[in-house]
């Protein structure tokens, strides 16, 4: 495995940060979701987090070489997150710039190449219909292979996903 970059954490914002050899700045964020979900999940001590990451390129006109240390760093961060077997990570791809399929594929490849030995990946498709179009975005739920409460996760998170969206963001 390629050597990851050093990650630091900004205490004021909660950002996990790293800078690549080519000068790109990555910010990774976790949002704790359990308190806003079904209380049953809390009873079983499940810790559910929403994950996101983004990059700032201070020299956007300059072509960058493929840097495998970036994947290695993000994989390392995700592995560290799963120190607790009761944790669940949700990653929904940002679709606003039309690049959600690329993000989905990237995450899928990371899982296949580096994480499948330790983590189970449950792909997520979210279909949103409006008057003219059906819009789909993608994501995944990650859990450890030895996650102890798969039945609870199925009943209280996966089957209630639509209701969760309303509870979390529908106010």
């Amino acid at each position: 495995m390629t050597l990851p970059y050093k990650i630091s954490q900004d205490k004021t914002t909660g950002y996990y940060l790293f800078r690549t050899a080519q000068g790109l700045f990555y910010k990774c964020v976790f949002k704790y979701a359990t308190p806003r979900l079904s209380p049953i999940l809390g009873v079983y001590d499940l810790e559910i987090y929403d994950f996101d990451f983004e990059m700032f390129d201070p020299t956007p006109g300059k072509r960058k070489k493929l840097d495998e240390r970036i994947s290695a760093t993000l994989v390392e961060l995700i592995k560290s997150f799963f120190s607790n077997p009761n944790r669940v990570l949700i990653y929904i791809c940002d679709a606003s710039d039309g690049r959600h399929l690329e993000r989905h594929k990237l995450f899928e490849n990371w899982h296949k190449d580096f994480l499948s030995h330790d983590l189970v990946r449950l792909p997520v498709d979210i279909l949103m219909e409006d008057e003219e179009n059906t819009f789909t975005t993608h994501g995944c739920v990650l859990i450890r292979n030895d996650f102890p409460h798969k039945d609870i996760l199925q009943e209280q998170l996966i089957e209630k996903a639509e209701g969760i969206l309303i509870e979390k963001y529908g106010e």
Binding site: Q9, D10, T12, T13, G14, Y15, Y16, F25, K27, V29, F30, K31, Y32, E47, Y49, D52, E54, M55, F56, D57, P58, L77, S80, F81, S83, R87, I92, D94, A95, S96, D97, L122, P123, V124, D125, I126, L127, M128, E129, D130, E131, T137, V141, I158, A161, E162, G163, L165, I166, K168, Y169, G170
Partner: protein, 51 residues
């Protein structure tokens, strides 16, 4: 196993999902523009630190 969520138009879930995606979009734009710390201060947003 694949998780499929279908959101009906004009439903509360549709509004909720749009809000969720708008938050992701705002975060992406803030980071892309190099303004992520201002974004976090203005909201104010404090992300969690599980590691």
């Amino acid at each position: 196993m694949k998780i499929k969520v279908t959101i009906k138009p004009k439903s509360k879930a549709a509004q909720a999902f749009k809000k969720y995606m708008a938050e992701k979009d705002a975060f992406r734009k803030a980071v892309k523009s190099g303004d992520a710390f201002t974004y976090a201060k203005q909201r104010p947003i404090k992300f969690d630190a599980p590691i």
